[in-house]
Point group: C2
Chain length 330, copies 2
Amino acid sequence: MTQPRYDVIAIGNAIVDVIAPVTHDFLVAEELPAGSMRLIDDERAVDLYAKMGQATEISGGAAANTLAGATMLGLKTAFIGQVADDQLGEIYRHDLTAVGVDFDTPARAGDPHTGRCLVLVDPDGERTMNTSLGASQFLPAEAIDDELIGSTRVLFLEGYLWDPAEPREAMKRAIKVARAAGVQVAFATCADFCVHMHGKDFRAMIDDGLIDILFVNEEEAGILEGSDPDAAFESLAKDVPLVVMTRGADGAIAARGNERAKVSPEPVAQVKDLTGAGDLFAAGFLSGYCRDASLEESLVRGAVAAGEVISHWGARPEADLQAMVAKRLG
Amino acid sequence: MTQPRYDVIAIGNAIVDVIAPVTHDFLVAEELPAGSMRLIDDERAVDLYAKMGQATEISGGAAANTLAGATMLGLKTAFIGQVADDQLGEIYRHDLTAVGVDFDTPARAGDPHTGRCLVLVDPDGERTMNTSLGASQFLPAEAIDDELIGSTRVLFLEGYLWDPAEPREAMKRAIKVARAAGVQVAFATCADFCVHMHGKDFRAMIDDGLIDILFVNEEEAGILEGSDPDAAFESLAKDVPLVVMTRGADGAIAARGNERAKVSPEPVAQVKDLTGAGDLFAAGFLSGYCRDASLEESLVRGAVAAGEVISHWGARPEADLQAMVAKRLG
């Protein structure tokens, strides 16, 4: 078999994060549970944006954040996602390709605009995310190029994108193509609400043997399995070849068959903004996985990448991740 | 006389900063002297942006940065500047009004787009600025509302905006209105190239007694007066009622008639991005000036505000400036 052209191809939301600090009182007044994520319509987006303080715009999107990190860690990657033909769409494409991610999905003309996520960061660094999907919800099945999907080692799917119908069909198609081509399918559940809404679909895919690598956090695993997180982890590990579960301040654990491994969080001088922690954990993990590193090393790589991204605003790494990982692995 | 409605009204560029880290080698390869500022055309903007790494978008513009800081320090302010009717224009208006600056200049339809500044930050925190003025260069004289200009204590003018013809005429008109209404005129020379190009105009305004408060840095003062910075400061102090000169790592000095005062820079844990240091110095200084504080206190306020803005990315303050100033003044 020839070497695949890509290590990871991801399908995900193309979203520009609009990040501003807020007080706990603001979240209470707006009835936004700290740390939650929701989809909002345009009216609410305009209302909430008007109430937010001055903000910073940084490209985001869960799977795209993972690719940015993975690419900075040396992997060959490509992104499939939908931006609009507007200024934020241009910015989005620039930021992704600037770190070396291939991104050839054409921009979509007309309304709606490129997706935005209003990210409210409270004094604890906890982020409350309010996403207006915009063009992202119209990623068409035609954006899935069979030849492209067949040319990667891992296909990475973002659970957030399971919500809108068009991209969900596109992802189902991509899974089919991937399986036929012997490509590993990785799936990130992304958020509580995704599992609440689509947990049955996710479980059915697992039961059908369509998911090779599952990225979850404790809460998502618990909701998915209807049990406490530890029991959920073990039951998922029975049905998914490789499970990676992040546990917030307790680090992360992974299971591959009977093999188990865990990692503690990297010490961080100051946690500024937790946005992207899970995405970058996946990036670091995949940078080990795609080089056939041990579970332990892959987890350490995940912890280093996650530690970097929570030390500053925004969900894309700023520091030299390669150097950080090399230093940590000694 | 009734109390003026505003403390400071500023006329300036409406520019979104696109900020990315670069190496010293990158600047050399692109023939960009570190710390310099230039105007670039659309072609060069596209070329340079394509070569830049992933970036962060934060609203900027020299005078607007000053207003954002001054407002956070308790002053009543308004901004006059030109954005386009596009996404970056909306973001720009949001960020300025979100901190409490009144901004009622209508957006301009059609091309060109809202102005951008590609800010390249090297490992020393020095920023090299490449500005594509966009809509900013078409601020019309009609944007100057005589009644509005007459309702402020200080009219603050941004030297950068002296370059394009339309805004220059608008500013000349505003100066005339201000003088007739007994409003103090403050002028910031902003950059070496502004003084190289328009130093004669600036000197003529000083000679005509049109400038009450002058904000310069050492280099700009030296170019303006054709002498070393100290001699330039003294000669300017003869002709301008109040001169404030920043001196980089040496802090700043001010002269009002025969009175002299100076301040050292505030200690900063880590200098991350020098963008906005001069703008925020002016903000802090004006927050003292408008409350009839001493020159010394006004300079300390300037140093605190400048110290805050260089400790993070972007030229708008993030921390609680009021609290920082209160703590520093004891």
